[in-house]
Symmetry: C2
Subunit: 157 residues, 2 copies
Amino acid sequence: MPRPSPGTPSPAWTDPDCPVARTLDLVGDRWSLLVVRDAMDGARSFTEFQRRTGIARNILTDRLRKLTAHGVLAQQAASSGRRLQYVLTDAGRDLFPVLLTLRQWGERHAFEPGEPHSTLVDRHGTRVPDLRPTGADGAVLDADTTHVRKTGGEGQR
Amino acid sequence: MPRPSPGTPSPAWTDPDCPVARTLDLVGDRWSLLVVRDAMDGARSFTEFQRRTGIARNILTDRLRKLTAHGVLAQQAASSGRRLQYVLTDAGRDLFPVLLTLRQWGERHAFEPGEPHSTLVDRHGTRVPDLRPTGADGAVLDADTTHVRKTGGEGQR
DNA sequence: AGAATAAGTAGCAAAATGAAACCGATGCGA
DNA sequence: TCGCATCGGTTTCATTTTGCTACTTATTCT
């Protein structure tokens, strides 16, 4: 088997040095993250993904293939003779914080004040608290208190 | 002017109850989050966004307009007679955690082991630590320890 | 065995994207 | 103040990507 690790996109990366851009190159289309969302919520089969997302079948085929090629999903023969299933890899499960922040932003900004929406809860049924970026010293971080340090070709100085 | 608040997409939402899906409807295309990334990094003008992202000019026009319509960016006449600029709104700045988790996932999974990439640092130049979802009790949360609670049409029971 | 279901494919129309040229309104130096 | 460069787009047109609606093949069920 080749290396499933990063898996370079066809022409090249949109912006090779930026991790945000690379992530978006891999999962930043209209559907991939919804597929991952549903995988986290228990979906395994083609039909189940199709039913939950409502995505067109040919596009779903393509996305499942790309996510697999990029190491986010893996195909696995199910226990009892069933057809094969798509399961999240470690990298796929690691998208949890991304889905969580997308969810929380949506809850704050994409619904009218009293409008109902699904929520994420833990084992005890308690609502998952807002994720807040903090620095090593515990201070809350935002766009104004951080900045991107570009990489010189050589090691970080 | 209508209400800038959420700003319903044309036909309707992909999945009206899901905050993840709504967020992706608003900013989940190939470019919007890169525009927001650059806005957080100081870009203000059309040309500056164009130069940094490399996006086609007509598409950039469209994205800036949509982000503005959705309340992520706002147009502002600059101080000294300059042309008008695009600045992040509160909702836009609140996308910081989303960009951060995308960045951190990319750092972990979209680069070869020793490959260099830009990093996010705080005021002191210290690398921003990984964002970890935790429950109210402080336990680390992931896809296996949480689940989505769907909203019945009526109030939560 | 026969029917229903799963998992795709194929073909085609519609929508989104990208590249390049074009354009009017500043801004700016001589 | 004239002339040129720049900014912030718009237009046009070709290429890609989506989304539908069949159609197909392999399982699974009864």
